[in-house]
Amino acid sequence: MNFFLQMMVSGLLAGAVYALMAMAVVVIYKSSSIFNFAHGSLVAFAAFLMWALVVQWELPLPAVIPIFVLALFTVGFLIQRLILQPLTGQPLMAAVMATIALGDVFAGIVTLVWPGPGRTLPQIIPSRVFHLGGTVMSSESLVNFLICCLAFAGFFFFFRKTKLGLAMRGTAEDHALAQSEGIRVSWIFVVSWVVAILMAAVGGILMSSLYGVNLAPLHGLGMKSLAVVILGGLESIQGAIVGGLIIGIAEAIGAGYLDPYVGGGFNELTPFLIILLVLIIKPYGLFGYERIERL
């Protein structure tokens, strides 16, 4: 029982970060119906960029944050304007391949510019271990969890109370209607890319406190958020949060109970098994819009 509780807790802590990264995918899908396969690479790219600013160039923190945000803003703007805007109206394959190719470009940039073994960001929080009711958790994952909760609260506020957030939700409902209300839909697409990249960046930085700044694990974590999005439903932000927590817990429990039998590495597989199961049983996810289609 204690073991089970431990698995639940560590799964929950990891799941919150998955949920944050999955929200980034949902925000883009909601506004522009493009599924972002480049997410994993963008997560890694953002973490490496942060490392370059903080460690390589040793900039002070007040300078780091505006430069970081500005750089990611530029990236999001260029992606939307130069690549995805011209693809409007093309078949599904084009949008899928464009984001996949984009992911390649960013993974390539990371390998080219920051080659070799992984790096670590400086530790801000002292590393410590907490005991709570028979379970163990590290200060890093606890802080990650708290930051994610703050980010969730922030995004809920943003989407419900601010004008820009409401405009984004309006755009997600209906492009033509949003345009008639005076919302610049093309600009909203740019904003949603920027917001998504910022979320991906926060997720990447939080995760690199656990895994270091490495391309492969960060990219893998980004890909895991695809499973979260499929489970939660493509259009649902609440779905991303619930899905993230479920996937985190399922992964921890799967790894805890099955690894001894299959020889390790089962947690890499869990998200994809969940994807297949969801697609067979409830294809539109827990909270996604169910489109009734005759097949």
Binding site: A101, F272, L279
Partner: protein
């Protein structure tokens, strides 16, 4: 589908159903085969024969993928995993049981095909984007199983596959393998071309263009989609089996998600025809070869880690090429090829296809 020059008429049924319709086409085809089988292999050294062999194997897999993506309109991100299935099936059968290649290759094709069938089953409930995601998940599951297959698949160290020998004749050099691979490639391309002329092939095109309309005309949409997955995976299985026995050693690292994406990229660059798939495969393989050729120069610019610099550079260039094609020439090289043909045919008049 096939535009004929002015003044060429089909006056008999035989003429109408012929694969090659004009004398000029015959001449072109014979010239191509002469270059392929009598010219190139005698002029090229083992290095370029190796490049050509890899292109041939890729063409088989990519033409198979074209049946699924270009002709049936279903996206698969797991083609490399089906190739891996074929490669491992063939290697396991020849390694553990010692069966000859002409037995293991059909079995490899069949096992990959059946797996493709299994992956396509969610198509009963979902379509479009969701199918792509299910193949994406299937890729990871298949590769995980191959990696953790214990003594059967030998984990990370990989499996050895014997050289192909049929009736005492061993295909042990690049030169001999060239004829085997190119022969199979030509047969597979021919089969694909014929498939698209049959009822099944037409049904696939109908499903791609509008599946509701296709169902209305009496086509079993689900069966057509699953069949497309099966056929495309059979092609991948054959390509995988050839790759396994050609390279002699297969590991899980040879079949990554990146390889599936490369094949998708070849289709984007080539365009939605059989010729397009072939052109795209040749174009991207030659591009990769060109980067290897440039590698020393890249190593000088980024001296710290030249090998990973080359890998990164390849990835960036590859992604950029796909994006450029998507944005500026979504109909691919095949469209360019049509423009070139039309230019020759209609000269000195302008082509209606050009911009």
């Amino acid at each position: 589908m096939f535009k004929k020059p002015c003044g060429t008429f089909d006056e008999t049924y035989e003429r109408d159903s012929a694969l090659v319709r004009t004398p000029l086409r015959w001449a072109g085809l014979i010239l191509l085969f002469m270059v392929m089988f009598l010219g190139f292999p005698f002029l090229a050294g083992p290095y370029y024969l190796d490049v050509a062999n890899n292109i041939g194997i890729t063409v088989i897999a990519v033409v198979g993928l074209q049946i699924l993506i270009g002709f049936t309109g279903q996206i698969s991100l797991g083609h490399a995993a089906f190739m891996a299935t074929g490669a491992y099936t063939s290697a396991m059968l020849s390694d553990h049981l010692g069966w000859p290649f002409w037995v293991t290759m059909p079995l490899a094709a069949l096992s990959a095909g059946l797996l493709g069938l299994l992956v396509a089953l969610p198509a009963l409930r979902i379509r479009g984007f969701y199918i792509a995601v299910s193949t994406f998940a299937a890729h990871y599951i298949i590769m995980w199983l191959l990696l953790h297959g214990g003594d059967l698949t030998m984990g990370t160290s990989g499996l050895t596959a014997d050289e192909i020998s049929v009736g005492g004749f061993t295909f042990d050099t690049e030169f001999r393998m060239y004829y085997l691979i190119m022969g199979i490639t030509v047969v597979m391309v021919f089969l694909t071309n014929n498939l698209m002329r049959t009822k099944v092939g037409r049904a696939m095109l109908a499903v791609r263009d509008n599946d509701l309309a296709a169902a209305f005309m009496g086509i079993n949409v689900f069966r057509t989609k699953v069949l497309a997955f099966f056929i495309s995976s059979v092609f991948a299985g054959i390509a995988g089996a050839l790759l396994a026995h050609y390279q002699g050693l297969i590991t899980v690292e040879q079949f990554t998600l990146m390889d599936s994406i490369w094949m998708l990229g070849m289709l984007i660059i080539g365009g939605p025809t059989i010729i397009g798939a072939i052109l795209g495969a040749i174009f991207l393989r030659l591009l990769a070869q060109f980067i290897l050729f440039l590698a020393p120069a890249i190593g000088e610019v980024f001296p710290s880690f030249s090998s990973s610099a080359v890998a990164g550079f390849t990835q960036i260039l590859f992604g950029a090429v796909i994006i450029l094609f998507l944005v500026f020439e979504p109909r691919g090289l095949a469209h360019r090829w049509q423009i070139i043909l039309a230019t020759f045919r209609l000269w000195p008049f302008k082509t209606p296809l050009g911009r």
